[in-house]
């Protein structure tokens, strides 16, 4: 007899929404998390008088009450919307190329186009054309997939047919031309981890469409508030959660998934398992090798582990405005060639030519840290390989050395930053690996090249009863991973013949 109808492994975004959806549909559900708090990336930690946000810079897909985005609707269906305080950001982002440009864009397409045209009058038409293309293309994606059009034809979806398998650089070069303009208008590529020469045009369109139409948001209390609210809805619906309870084995028999074995050695039986654990660890570590289907190994072979991050969390004893942190989101870009920036993501070093992001939450939420202080996260993407072989005894020194270089680079935009740091924590790819269990500390799952799109790598069960949720089974980022958990839960419900109504 099964102990539970469904077990969800991992309480990251995907695991939490999967467990909440299952429990709310009356499925006897157990959520197992290795860490002592829910959230995975979506978490916070305290240092001194600060509570540092780990991952959330800008939440996408929320929209307003009048014009709700998909994530707002999802959170409402899960019953957590009322438990959250959503704070819209008044800026899309600020981009600074030191000594070249300092410009702030608004989360509004027309305003963005106007601001860019004012700054780059020579490229007026190209700017309009670029944004028309992004919106046109993404509009077609919504029509075809979000509204599930049964007839996706070339006539109805011409842009999609033409561009769905293209990267962004060609059209961007054609429309925007000027490297500074391109840098300003494509700064969001870092949110997907691939530069325009590799990033699918549809992904670029999705980024700009989602953040402009549905506004970037901040969560009061940080992403931990969302994770705690989701965990609470699992409990409210009768689901069980065990923290400090990692899974070391997914049991598979001839009928499919049979249950899990915890790190403490308990066997828990269930015929439906949703894994929020990386696809690599799920199939390479958690399942006996002789039960792993070859088709999965093929999928893994085609994929490349995506970037992790190097982050310096800063608790500062000065107000945001006094430090020049006028926007909540500032991209500091040291090179107008994104391919060179991408190449440096494979190196451990950080210098003035890198790209980095500084998020200051107090700029829109003054109460985010105690009066007279502010909190910021300075982050840049780094592939994990370059940290893997640092000798253990040099690890701490290496962290400090690189953090110091990173602060120096940021001080070109925020002078005096270093002198006001009261609390500092440094996270390397190994830190992310430690807390998430993901190989090389990847924060968005695999690289998302065009070839890795769900058009080619569908997230379907390779083993009967085993489903994937989270960044490793689709796209990374808050909105996609929260959505993927619901999708995985729906697949379980279909299998169990439970009604999806609620």
């Amino acid at each position: 007899m099964a102990d539970y109808e469904a077990i969800v492994i991992g309480a990251g975004n995907g695991g939490l929404t999967a467990a909440a959806t299952l429990a709310q549909h009356g499925v006897r559900t157990l959520l197992l998390e290795r860490h002592n708090v829910p959230g995975g990336c979506a978490t916070s930690f305290c240092r001194g008088r600060f509570e540092f946000e780990v991952a959330l810079h800008q939440l996408s897909g929320i929209g307003t009450e009048e014009k709700p985005g998909p994530l707002r609707l999802l959170l409402a269906r899960l019953g957590v919307l009322d438990r959250l305080e959503l704070v819209p950001m008044d800026d899309l982002y600020r981009v600074v190329i030191p000594e070249v440009i300092d410009i702030t864009l608004k989360p509004d397409r027309d305003a963005t186009v106007a601001a860019l045209q004012a700054h780059f009058p020579a490229h007026k038409d190209g700017i309009a054309e670029w944004f028309d293309l992004l919106w046109g293309l993404f509009g077609e994606v919504i029509g075809a997939f979000y509204f599930k059009d049964p007839q996706v034809t070339r006539e109805k979806y011409p842009l999609f047919h033409r561009y769905a398998l293209q990267t962004s650089a060609a059209e961007m070069d054609r429309c925007l031309k000027d490297p500074v303009l391109k840098t300003v208008a494509s700064a969001y590529w870092t949110y997907m981890g691939l530069p325009p020469s590799r990033l699918a045009l549809t992904d670029m369109a999705a980024l700009y469409f989602a953040y402009s139409e549905f506004l970037p948001y901040h969560l009061r209390g940080g992403s931990q508030a969302l994770s705690n609210a989701l965990a609470q809805s699992v409990l409210d619906a009768g689901g069980d959660i065990r923290f400090n309870c990692g899974v070391r084995r997914i049991l598979v028999d001839d009928e499919g998934v049979a249950g899990v074995v915890t790190e403490a050695g308990d066997t828990i039986a269930a015929r439906q398992v949703v894994s929020n654990v990386s696809k690599v660890a799920t199939y390479v570590d958690l399942i006996e090798a002789d039960r792993v289907p070859l088709a999965v190994l093929d999928e893994l072979r085609q994929a490349r582990i995506g970037p992790s991050a190097f982050t310096v969390y800063l608790g500062l004893d000065a107000e945001a405005a006094d430090l020049g942190m006028t926007a909540s989101t500032t991209f500091i870009v040291g090179d107008t060639d994104p391919d060179r920036i991408y190449a440096r993501m494979f190196q451990r070093e950080i210098g003035p030519r890198d790209g980095m992001l500084l998020t200051c939450y107090n700029a829109i939420d003054p109460g985010f840290s105690p009066p007279g202080t502010c909190q910021a996260a300075l982050v840049t993407l780094k592939y994990g390989e370059s940290w893997r072989d640092v000798p253990p005894r040099d690890y701490a020194d290496e962290k400090y050395r690189i953090a110091a270089d990173m602060l120096s680079a940021a001080e070109r935009v925020f002078p005096g930053l270093r002198g006001r740091v009261e609390e500092m924590e440094i996270a390397t790819p190994l830190t992310h690996q430690r807390y998430l269990g993901h190989p090389q500390g990847a924060i968005y799952g695999f690289d998302h090249h065009v070839k890795d799109s769900p058009l080619f790598v569908a997230n379907r069960p390779h083993i009967r009863g085993l489903y994937g949720a989270g960044g490793w089974y689709g796209s990374g980022g808050f909105q996609p991973t929260l959505e993927s958990g619901v999708a995985a839960a729906r697949a379980v419900l279909r299998h169990l013949n439970r009604s999806e109504a609620r």
Binding site: G48, E51, H161, Q232, A281, L297, Y395, E422, L430, F456
Partner: protein
Amino acid sequence: MKSDIARKLDGYDALMGEIAAARKYGSDFTPLRGRLQDAVARLHPHRVALRVSRVIDETPSTRTLRLVPAAGNLPPFQTGQYITLFFDLGGVRTARPYSISSAPSQTAFWEITVRRVAEGLVSNHLLDLGPGALLESSGPAGTFVFNPVIHPPQLVCIAGGSGITPFMSMIRETVQRDLPRRITLLYGNRRLDDVIFHAELNELARSAVQFDYIPVVEDPPGNYPGRRGLIDAPLIREACGTLDDKVFFVCGPQGLYDHVLPQLEAMAVPRRRLRCEIYGAPANVWEQPGWPAEVDRHARFTVTLPGGRHVEAPAAVPLIRSLEKSGWAIPSLCRSGTCSLCRLKLLSGRIFQPPGVPVRSSDRRFGYIHACVSYPLSDLEILL
């Protein structure tokens, strides 16, 4: 359906070629089975198996235990960090943090220096161990560390009693490795024979240019030539000269913080140049600000756990101790409220958490508490 769509897209054939090539030449993760977490385990092992290799008498109440790895290597640590030792003492599974007093460049062993605590459960057990005894610890943890990115290289360390241990590691490392730092140690003790490492500190101060040692004894023998009394503002000022270019580290019993921190504040030392080590749950919690006068400190309450089981819990004892005493194993590390490992959910009832315990804001909202610094004020119902 999606693959039908894909076939009609521009560039489909080229992309299929790309996929085929990627599958042929791509990454094979299967040889990494069981080794995916190796790089992390080298830095942050979940547990370290240790063997006592030597026991060194320091003072009448204090001994140093030298710990060698029972297998493999020790993970690295930063001076000022602690390890938590885990115990099963007659069915009570518990844990205690101890700062590492040896230097990090000494990779063959760790030393911890333990003072006997009257009635203490663990310290008395530890001090009776001899060479060969086996122990289990966490990896090194803690944020009481010098950060070269933001701290000036002149440290003023203020220690009381067994609070000397993290500084011993810092001083040894600085002197042995000739680091470009200056350390001034103000070390307060009740009696002269309480002073741990007195001879070694004197010797280091004599031989190393980076290090000054100022012992302060509250109640010394009549002929004692050194400083008497308590560490106070005039002494700190005299020892430091200028304050602006110094970072202050404080570690000791609660009395030291109560006494020294207001003085540092009065001297306008900003918090960014002050680090205080955590020091466990407060001793007489009913004396803390905010303790409700109507709750008798001798009161005893009933805690209901999942499955309807009950545990008796006195008001003045941290909840984690009462749970452990009844045979429950609660994960813990810092035992001081800061690491959140002992986080559990309060379903009903009231508890007291001393002011300033760093609980995440949304944890507070959803009723999570840190059991190592939570005291029952009524009957409780909890979720583990």
